[in-house]
Symmetry: C2
Subunit: 417 residues, 2 copies
C-alpha cells in the first residue's frame, strides 16, 4: 500500500519581500502531491524544530486559496526566523538528536528550509547527519536573500524586489532634491556589508530626465575619502544637486569599514558607529560646506512589499514549487536554483545544485561591472538588473493600507486574548 | 470687447506628494476658462518671478491630457520650490517693484501660489501690496503641507498621502520585527518639528493582528526620558517586540529638543545633533540593554508618490480647481480650503478664507486627542485620520519603476545637451 508522509517547512535569516512566495509555492505544490499528507511549518526557523513549535499549514491553506495568494504578497517571514548556526555534528550531537526526534515524531520525510547563506549551512549539516544515521528524509534548501550574494544562482529571490524599492526611492528622492535652486549633496546609504548588488540597483532610477545617482560606491573596491570629496566637487561643478548611492559596507584600503572610522561618542560617552552615510555627510559638511543630507533606507528595503517586483515574486514561488518534486524523488542536501536562459526576452530555467557548492560562500559584484572611474557601474550590469524589477503584483488594500496575511501566531503579546 | 489676461502659478515650501495635483487642478480649470489666455509657471517659487524664470504651461499641457494626469501623480514640485520670505513692503520695496514689473510685463491678472505657512505669508504680503498700489490682480493661496499644521482647514493636502506612507511603513516594519523570538525595541522617527499629526498617523498601521506602534510620542506634550524608559520596560513585560513612533520634534519640560541633548561629537570634533531616534536608541541600549534599532523615515514620507492616497490627490486637485473661479471673480488675498461635512460617509466641501487667518499660524494636535497615558492617541483622532488615506491612484510603471512626469526643466546639469 502507498505510504503517506508529512513535510515540514521553515524560514530563516533576514527578511525579504519574496520569501513567503517560496513558502506559498511549496504549500501549493505539496497540497497537490498525493505522497504528502500533512504540511507542517516550524516557527522561528530551526529553533522551532528544536522547541517543537510546529503549526499545521494544511489546515490553514488547503481550503483557502485566497490566503495562499495573500501569503505570496506578505512581507518578511510568515513562519518567523532565527539566526542560529548549528554546531558541527561531531562536536555536539544534542541539537541533531532533538531535531531528528521531532522529524520522527511527526513522520517528516521532506524538510524544506528557505533561507540565505547560513540557512544553507543548516541544510548541509542536517542532510549529512541524516545520511550518517541512515534516516530517510529529503532536505532541500530554497534560496532567498536581498543581498544577491549566493553562488550558482543567476540572482537570489528577494533581490529584485529590494532593487525595485531602492531604485523607486532614489527616483523619488531625486524629485525631492531637484526642487531647490541651490547646491546640495544627498547621500543614500544602502544595505550590503560585503557585496554591492543592492547599491548598484540605485542606477535603475536613471531615466530620460533623471541622471541620479551621480556617484555609486560599492564595497568591492577600497573607498578613499579624499577621492570621494574630489568626485563630489567635480559633480558639483556641473550640476546643482549631487545624489550619491553608497553601500553601508564600504571599507578603506586597509579593509576598515568607513562606518567604524567615525569615532563618534554618544550621550553616554560610548564610542558609537554612525552609519556610513552619516559619516560621509559630516565629511562633506566639513570639506565642501554645502547643504548636505544623508538618508539610510534601513529595513524598508527588505520588507516594503507594497512596491515588490512581480518577476521576483513569481520566480520565488516557482523555486518553492520546484523543490517539492525534487524532495519527492528522494534528493537531499540540494538547493534549488534558477538560470538565466536569455535576456531578451528574459527567460529562466530551474534546476538544483549540491548544497556544498553554496553554503558559507559569497558572490561579489564582478569588478569589471564597476566603471573605470570606480564611482559608477557598467551598462552590462544594468542589463543584468533590468529584467529583475519588472512587473507589479496585484496589491489589495484594506482600510487604505496594503492587505497582508495575519502573522498573529508570531506575536508574543500577553495582553492579547 | 472681452479682454483676456494671463495667469501665473508657482509652488513653494517643502515637497508633498499632492502638490502637483493642485497644480494640475489649476491648469485644467484655467485651460477651460475663456477669460484666461496663457498659463505661466514660475520656477522655484517667488524667486522664479523675481528672476523672470517663467515657463509656458499652456503649451505643455493644453494638448496633452496624459501629461496632466501624470502631473497629478508626480512627486514634489513640478515647478520647483524656494524658501524665501519676502521682506515687509514698508522696509524694502525692491522685491515688490520687481515682482509687479513681471506681473505687468506678462499681463498677469491671476496669481496662484501653492504652499504652506510661509507661502501664505507671501500671498498676504503681495495681495496687500497690490491693493496699496491699486494693481488689478487676484492672488490666491492653495494650501499644502504634509505637516497638517494650517488653521481653518480640516486637513492639508499632502497630509493624507504622507500618513499612508508612514502607516504602511510601520506595518511593514512590524512584519520585519515580529520574526525573531527575542526582545527588541524599534524606534521610528517621524517628521514634525512642532505638530504631531504625522507621528500620530503611525497608529493607522494597527489592524486585527498588528498592535504596533505600541508607544507614540507627539511634540505637543513634554517628553520625559525617564518616563519613556519606564513605558518601554512596561511594554517589554507583555510582548517581545516594542515598536515606538516618535516625532522628531519632541522636547523636554524646559522646551529643549531631545535631539539637541545628544551632545555627540562627529569625526571632526564638532558637536552634532543626532536624530531624535538615534538618541533614544542609545538611551535604550544604555538603560535596558536589549536589541534596539532606530529608523528615520526621512524625506520619503513627503515624496513617496508610489503609495499616495487617492482621497488626498483628488482633494488637492479640487482645491486647485476651486481657486480659479475665485480668482476670476476678483477675489484676492484668500486661501482655498476644505471642510469635513461628514465622516461616514466621508464628504468635504470647498470654500475660502482670508489669508490673514492663515499666514504664520500653526495648528497643533488637540491635547484631548492624546491618551491619558501620554504615549498614545485617542479613537477620536483615529476617526479623524482614517478617511484621509483611503484609495489608491492608478499608478503607471515604465521599465519597472513608477512613471512620473519629467522635471528636466528643474535640473541644472551642464553635462546635458
Amino acid at each position: 500500500m502507498f505510504h503517506k508522509s508529512n513535510c515540514l517547512i521553515a524560514q530563516s535569516g533576514g527578511p525579504t519581500v519574496a520569501i513567503n512566495a517560496s513558502l506559498a509555492g511549496i504549500i501549493e505544490e505539496a497540497l497537490n502531491s498525493p505522497q504528502i499528507d500533512t504540511i507542517y511549518g516550524a516557527l522561528n526557523g530551526i529553533l522551532g524544530v528544536l522547541d517543537e513549535k510546529l503549526i499545521n499549514l494544511s489546515n490553514t491553506f488547503s481550503k483557502d486559496k485566497e490566503a495562499l495568494d495573500l501569503l505570496k504578497n506578505t512581507p518578511s517571514m510568515y513562519l518567523g526566523s532565527c539566526r542560529y548556526k548549528l554546531p558541527e555534528a561531531g562536536d555536539a550531537d544534542s541539537d541533531y538528536l532533538e531535531i531528528f526526534k521531532i522529524f520522527q515524531k511527526y513522520n517528516i520525510k521532506y524538510f524544506f528550509y528557505i533561507g540565505g547563506n547560513d540557512s544553507m549551512d543548516t541544510v548541509s549539516k542536517l542532510s549529512k547527519y541524516a545520511k550518517k544515521i541512515n534516516f530517510d528524509i529529503s532536505i532541500i534548501g530554497i534560496p532567498k536573500t536581498i543581498d544577491n550574494d549566493l553562488r550558482h544562482i543567476d540572482h537570489t529571490p528577494g533581490y529584485g524586489s529590494a532593487a525595485k524599492y531602492i531604485s523607486t526611492s532614489i527616483l523619488e528622492i531625486a524629485h525631492d532634491a531637484y526642487i531647490y535652486d541651490i547646491q546640495s549633496v544627498i547621500i543614500v546609504e544602502i544595505m550590503g556589508r560585503n557585496a554591492g548588488w543592492l547599491t548598484a540597483a540605485s542606477a535603475l532610477a536613471r531615466n530620460e530626465y533623471n541622471t541620479a545617482p551621480h556617484l555609486i560606491y560599492l564595497p568591492e573596491l577600497p573607498f578613499s575619502t579624499e577621492q570621494f570629496i574630489t568626485d563630489v566637487q567635480k559633480e558639483l561643478s556641473t550640476r546643482k544637486q549631487v545624489i550619491v548611492a553608497v553601500s553601508e559596507g564600504i571599507k578603506d584600503s586597509t579593509g576598515e569599514y568607513i562606518s567604524a572610522k567615525s569615532g563618534q561618542v554618544d550621550q553616554f560617552g560610548h564610542v558609537m558607529l554612525s552609519g556610513t552615510g552619516k559619516y560621509l555627510e559630516n565629511l562633506v559638511k566639513e570639506k565642501i560646506a554645502c547643504k548636505v543630507r544623508s538618508i539610510e533606507l534601513n529595513v524598508l528595503q527588505r520588507c516594503a512589499t507594497h512596491i515588490s517586483s512581480l518577476t521576483d515574486i513569481n520566480e520565488s514561488c516557482m523555486l518553492g514549487k520546484t523543490s517539492v518534486p525534487l524532495a519527492l524523488e528522494g534528493c537531499s542536501g540540494r538547493m534549488v536554483l534558477l538560470r538565466r536562459e536569455s535576456n531578451s526576452p528574459y527567460t529562466v530555467s530551474y534546476d538544483s545544485v549540491s548544497i556544498d557548492e553554496i553554503a558559507n560562500k559569497e558572490k561579489y559584484v564582478p569588478v569589471d561591472w564597476i566603471s573605470e572611474s570606480k564611482n559608477d557601474i557598467t551598462e552590462e550590469f544594468m542589463e543584468y538588473m533590468r529584467p529583475l524589477i519588472q512587473g507589479e503584483p496585484k496589491q489589495s488594500y484594506k482600510n487604505g493600507l496594503p492587505s497582508y496575511l495575519s502573522v498573529n501566531h508570531l506575536i508574543h503579546d500577553s495582553n492579547q486574548a
